[in-house]
């Protein structure tokens, strides 16, 4: 059924010329939108003066300064003090000493990044588990006021985060969840689960009921049929949903900046406040942004077959 439709258009294939024009336009669009991304990537390898040069520099001598400033904290010292120090221990130390600075420790970027990993993947897993079970129930069972309940679930996503931040803050403080990873996981799950239910219900609706009924006749219980028949069939939808949930949880800023201060703070509130001497340290900001993009990019690229196929599959409705 799926293969039939993914080849569907080839029956009335566009002419080679039309294909080539379409390809050229899409590639041109992709390249244009890549420019800001390429600029972030390049700026991460520039020295401070190169990053703010006029005209903007495309060719430059690569420097580790951005990445060093991202991962370390430095303090200013007198040249005399630096002169009497033992020889520098690494690239970052050497770079710092050239500007009369000394590396005094590691920055908060790494702990924030680890928080991002735990909170984003934790809440994605939880959202998908809750989403797939609820979606299955909505898809297969007679539930009173089903449509209203579904709209209620969607409507929870309409609330501006700022609007509920104060009550959530007060509530979390009372139950001891403020500035904890668990609190943020639950919060992001609550935001994402509505999307997960809606997306996954679309996928599960597409799985023919006959499959489960055959399993039930074969002696499976409802739960066994769910785990052994429905879940494998819904893999594509689950992966596509997980990608969307992860993108949100990984990148969320408003709740993170308002509700966390240290322990559980993720990277998005941290990156924009990387300040150097005399303003924002753009190479360090760019380095932080680049490193932060890597996990989600890897995740999406590895699973992109599912994303594209998943979207198609969910769309195969009458």
């Amino acid at each position: 059924m799926m293969t039939a439709s993914s080849q569907a258009h080839s029956v009335v294939a566009p002419s080679p010329l039309a294909q080539r024009i379409a390809g050229a336009i899409v590639v041109a669009y992709a390249l244009i939108t890549m420019v800001p991304l390429a600029w972030i990537f390049l700026t991460g390898f520039k020295s401070g003066p190169d990053s703010i040069a006029y005209p903007p520099k495309v060719l430059f001598t690569p420097s580790a300064e951005g990445y060093c400033n991202l991962f370390t904290t430095r303090s200013r010292q007198t040249p005399e003090y630096i002169a009497q120090l033992p020889p520098s221990s690494g690239v970052c130390d050497t770079l710092a000493r050239a500007t009369n600075m000394v590396v005094v420790g590691s920055s908060n970027y790494l702990p924030r990044f680890v928080n991002s990993l735990i909170i984003a993947f934790g809440s994605t897993a939880l959202s998908v588990i809750l989403g797939v079970t609820a979606a299955y129930a909505f898809s297969r069972f007679r539930i009173p006021a089903k449509d209203d309940l579904l709209f209620f679930i969607l409507s929870t996503r309409m609330m501006p985060p700022i609007a509920v931040a104060i009550p959530i803050y007060l509530m979390y403080r009372d139950v001891g969840l403020s500035d904890t990873r668990l609190g943020m996981i639950l919060l992001y799950t609550a935001v994402n689960v509505s999307l997960a239910v809606w997306l996954l219900k679309g996928f599960i609706d597409e799985i023919p009921r006959e499959y489960e009924e055959a399993a039930l006749v074969d002696g499976y219980t409802r739960l066994q049929a769910f785990f052994k028949v429905v879940l494998p069939q819904a893999t594509t939808g689950i992966v596509a949903t997980a990608i969307f949930c992860l993108i949100f949880a990984w990148n969320e800023y408003a709740f993170a900046v308002l509700l966390t201060s240290g322990e559980a703070q993720t990277a998005p509130p941290f990156i924009p406040i990387i300040i150097g001497e005399g303003g924002q340290d753009w190479p360090a900001v760019a380095a932080g942004s680049t490193v932060f993009l890597v996990p989600i990019l890897v995740f999406t690229v590895l699973l992109r077959k599912h994303l594209l196929r998943g979207i198609t599959f969910g769309a195969l409705r009458k």
Binding site: P56, T221, L223
Partner: protein, 320 residues
């Protein structure tokens, strides 16, 4: 059957000897129990973390509570907060800024997103790779994006001004995207469109792929032109998906906070002060918790009402 776990074998035998509805009850949980078991955790979570704070916000909106003075006496002020919200010119200015932002981002993203999806669906060589490349902007954090575009928009050293000046000859320092009252509203529209067109494209692509091939085949047999096929098959059949994308982007951009906050923080003046930024100012800078709660409720009711009407229209299109 061969794979069924051992302890169940006996029960299964008993089950198969009994009539169908009874059999299910003998073996494990009933459908009703499973339905509740599967839905309850989601509902409980939403009630605890979404609905409870919402009710709290509604309660706060009728008080003069200030979150920075937790020990002050809280008085019930009736609908005073709502009256001040609805008569506040700043609120109406914020609504106008939001409307401008919503209208242009949705228009541009839908047009570009659908066009891209249509072109990608021509399945030229390597379309899978380029589709993935196009998706990258939407994987970034809006906060990081807003922050970095502030750098790209810098009049002297920014890449954006340099590129514009390179192609048009206008000196790069003669215009400020985020510093000028005239250009700033467009600065946030450009960034949001850059970031979220891929999302609309993805949903539109799903819509285009959902159109069964036999419809096009029939149209070919009838010698309908490609132009005609587009207007009478492609567009109408992809419309529910386009509308869904508009709904999702509309809801998200109505709440827009992170990207704009880091790009312009509402400035210059209040030209890009979309609703959520006004909300943040009232709630976390002026600490007028009661007032900001009333504003939040007004916003929520607005988006809830609009979405409700829209979903009804969407369902009508879908069931056509």
């Amino acid at each position: 059957m061969m794979n069924a776990p051992d302890p169940h074998v006996l029960l299964d035998k008993a089950a198969r000897a009994t009539p169908e509805p009874l059999a299910r009850r003998v073996r494990g949980l009933s459908d009703r129990a499973i339905a509740w078991l599967f839905i309850a955790p989601t509902i409980v979570l939403l009630l605890a973390i979404n609905i409870f704070p919402l009710i709290w916000t509604i309660w706060l909106s009728f008080t003069n509570y200030r979150a920075n003075r937790p020990n002050a006496v809280v008085a019930n002020v009736g609908i005073d907060n709502y009256v001040s919200v609805l008569t506040d010119p700043d609120v109406w200015a914020a609504m106008q800024a939001t409307a401008h932002f919503l209208f242009w981002t949705i228009l541009l993203q839908t047009a570009l997103g659908f066009a891209l999806a249509y072109l990608i669906d021509r399945r030229f060589r390597g379309y899978g790779f380029w589709t993935t490349v196009i998706l990258i902007p939407m994987m970034l954090s809006p906060a990081v994006v807003g922050n970095f575009w502030a750098f790209l928009y810098q009049p002297q050293i920014g890449l954006f001004n340099y590129v514009v000046s390179f192609f048009t000859g206008i000196p790069p320092s003669s215009f400020e995207m985020i510093g000028s009252v005239r250009l700033a509203p467009w600065a946030i529209v450009i960034v949001d469109t850059w970031m979220w067109t891929p999302y609309v494209m993805l949903i539109c692509l799903a819509g285009l792929r959902s159109i069964p091939a036999y419809i096009y085949e029939a149209a070919e047999v009838d010698r309908a032109s490609r132009w005609r096929q587009f207007w009478s098959i492609t567009l109408p059949m992809a419309l529910p998906f386009i509308m869904l994308a508009v709904l999702f982007r509309g809801i998200e951009n109505f709440k827009m906070f992170d990207m704009v906050n880091l790009l312009t923080s509402g400035g210059p003046g209040s030209t890009t002060e979309v609703a959520s930024i006004t909300l943040k100012r009232e709630a976390f800078e002026k600490w007028r918790t009661g007032y900001s709660s009333a504003f939040a409720v007004v916003l929520f009711v607005t988006v809830f009402g609009l979405a409700n009407i829209y979903v009804k229209a969407l369902n009508r299109v879908k069931n056509r």
